[in-house]
């Protein structure tokens, strides 16, 4: 089973990377761009068979390691 964890910054948390990308896109002549925010995806192969169990396991991984829940949200997709 393959899963994708998407980790994004919580609203309101400063995102210097996103801001720099925003500026660079502007400088490259792309217009009409609002805010840019950067996050992470983590693709994980699991050998679980049960989707629900896998989801619970992934949530546990997010809480313990993959996301910094002080400033980040996470989202789990089983692919």
């Amino acid at each position: 089973m393959k899963a994708r964890v998407t980790v994004t910054l919580k609203t309101g948390v400063l995102d210097p990377q996103g801001k720099a990308i925003e500026g660079a896109l502007g400088a490259l002549g792309f217009d009409g761009i609002g805010s840019v925010r950067q996050g992470k995806v983590i693709d994980i192969e699991l050998n679980d068979a049960d989707k629900t169990a896998a989801e619970a396991k992934l949530a546990d991984m997010c809480e313990k390691l993959l996301a910094n829940t002080v400033i980040e949200n996470y989202h789990i997709d089983i692919l």
Binding site: P16, Q17, A20, I21, A24, A27, Q38
Partner: protein
């Protein structure tokens, strides 16, 4: 002999580089701001270390799209000598002037320490003051120095003798232990096919006087400044 040092927002080793140029050549380099569209006539263009644009997105990525880069590409084509150190090397790969990419260090942490480099060739404008096979001391200070190129590119670089520096141990062996950042084939520095452009992760400019505890880095500047003079 004229040297131009390119400065991007977030560049922070331009003074170290200028000091090295001054110390070896006795001449002040020109500092060129990234927003310029033309690099003044120079025999040598240097892209120094730092965190251009915070190294956000990818190290060197945003700087590689700066206004000044169009002229850098032009000068590269003309065969002007170019030296990219650390962030400068990252920018050179991001512009496509040099092949490969510099990824996060295998150990994931920033590394600042003295390493040893094996000189792979002494018949280039960059390394003529050294001897082939010589082991030089050289500091590193980077987070993204893990050189990657696909198998074909790597083979081409090796076959064409474009690898100039490799991380090695005291005996000159390019061992896995000596490979501080996980670079493929222990690569620390490569040049272009014409031999006019060098990109390297280590900082020779930080080992050029007694204060630094060694002079091993001087050779690079001596080779270059003499050759382009």
């Amino acid at each position: 002999m004229k040297t131009a040092i390119l400065v991007f927002p977030g560049t922070n080793r331009e003074h170290d580089m200028a000091a090295a140029v001054r110390s070896v050549s006795g001449k002040d380099p020109m500092m060129v701001w990234h927003a310029e569209t033309e690099i003044p006539q120079a025999d040598l263009i240097i892209l120094p270390g730092g965190f251009s644009y915070g190294d956000y997105l990818r190290s060197g990525a945003i700087a590689a799209r700066s206004p000044i880069v169009a002229d850098l590409l032009e000068k590269a084509k003309q065969g002007v000598r170019i030296l990219g150190v650390c962030n400068g090397f990252q920018i050179l790969t991001e512009t496509g002037i040099l092949p490969g990419a510099l990824m996060r260090n295998a150990g994931l942490t920033f590394i600042c320490k003295e390493t040893k480099l094996r000189i792979e060739r002494d018949d280039t404008i960059f390394t003529s003051s050294y001897k082939k096979g010589q082991v030089m001391r050289c500091p590193v200070a980077h987070h993204d120095g893990n050189f990657f190129a696909d198998d074909d590119t790597l083979k081409m670089l090796e076959d064409d003798g474009r690898v100039l520096f490799r991380y090695c141990d005291a005996a000159g062996q390019a061992t896995p232990e000596a490979n501080i950042n996980g670079s493929r084939n222990n690569i620390a520095g490569i040049m272009n096919a014409r031999g006019t452009i060098l990109g390297m992760m280590p900082h020779p400019e930080n080992l050029i006087e007694d204060l630094h505890g060694g002079l091993d880095g001087r050779g690079l500047f001596e080779s270059l400044l003499e050759k382009v003079a």
